[in-house]
Symmetry: C2
Subunit: 199 residues, 2 copies
DNA sequence: ATTGTTTGCCAACGACTGTTGACGTCTTCC
DNA sequence: GGAAGACGTCAACAGTCGTTGGCAAACAAT
């Protein structure tokens, strides 16, 4: 089938092992199952079957189901730099477009949201992403540093809400929105949450 | 300990049965478990234990786990009428305040969102609520009838996103927002999604 | 007092879960 | 060559799940 995709094996450290193909297949299958089924219903047996290996291999390479999930779901939002004065007044549009690209090309985001709703560890992971990746962006464009967390939370609420209705719940009217429509409607909202004077 | 609360027994039809207290206890325990644990981890055994009865009673009265969930989670958003010309220009604030009241006093909403993310039947139920309860409100205030579904979807994305970050994921900065802050920030967003000319 | 029905508890079923350990095979190094 | 270890398969464990049927007590109707 394939040999390497954008989110494949080799995190960059350690020598290449003979089992890297298997490890990669497990991770790919795990990501897909977690994304579509959530944590509990994503069975290790089902994941192993998808990866065409024995369930015990999953345990050998990732210790736990927890360990598998932790290894399968690592998220880097790759948020762009918006500190430039010119980009700062477009931060709404830039962020919305970036998020749409991310969500449509990376099933890991769906997996994390689906699992985070019922799994504490995954919810904590999402908090970490908000704190380490979203908050710095808000800091770049917010007028008052003290309001940064609140404004980042508002930002997260709108973006995650869109992802929830469109990519997780798949509500028809949310799925039916064209990309340009979403950007046109949401960009001003995000722009206001981040840069407008507090109301 | 209590005898009757706002969401207790007797849906209004049928003769009162001797087991109504038990049925109510089961439903109350089920709502709490579904709200905090999601569908899979909300065990029938755990629910029965909370209600101080035998697990088999749950099956007798609600047939299935599915049946129990269907009986436990029935949602009426009690959305206010906003057709009046004076209320129409306040629809953003009115809806946000109404949703905050709902979410903070009704654990059933949390249950439905938590379960809907991984359970098809619950997701369909949410679609039904959007269609039957949210869409009519949007129809009352939208300029162009053709845009009603899209605008209702935007409305849902912002309100569900807030509920997700604040009541389900419990992200600290979202939990830390004061009620007045939320209303001040979100009301203009909702107002715009529903009434502004399309961008 | 006797029926029939409702309510409840108990024990158990089959299926499925995460996880473990033993065992054969293939690769690698000396 | 042989030794050491990585890789993979198989069978099984202990536990939990939803669900079922039988049986005793409490009630209702006659």
């Amino acid at each position: 089938m394939n040999g390497s995709d954008s989110t494949s094996t080799v995190p960059g450290s350690g020598a290449p092992r003979r089992s890297d193909a298997t490890r990669g297949a497990i991770l790919a299958a795990a990501r897909e199952r977690f994304a579509t089924d959530g944590y509990e219903r994503a069975t290790i047996r089902a994941i192993a079957k998808d990866a065409n290996i024995d369930p015990s291999m999953v345990m050998r390479y990732y210790r736990n189901k927890e360990g598998l999930f932790a290894a399968a779901v690592a998220i880097d939002l790759r948020l762009p730099d918006v500190s430039g004065a010119d980009r700062r007044q477009d931060v709404g549009r830039i962020l919305v477009e970036h998020f749409l690209d991310m969500w449509e090309n990376n099933e890991v985001l769906t997996a994390l949201l689906r699992v985070g709703v019922t799994n504490r560890a995954a919810a904590d992971r999402m908090q970490g992403i908000l704190r380490d990746q979203l908050l710095p962006v808000a800091r770049q464009v917010c007028p008052d540093p003290e309001q940064v967390p609140a404004r980042a939370a508002l930002l997260a609420s709108q973006l995650l809400g869109l992802a929830l209705t469109r990519y997780v719940l798949r509500m028809p009217p949310a799925v039916g929105l064209a990309r340009a429509e979403i950007v046109a409607w949401l960009a001003p909202t995000i722009q206001r949450y981040l840069t407008a004077p507090s109301p």
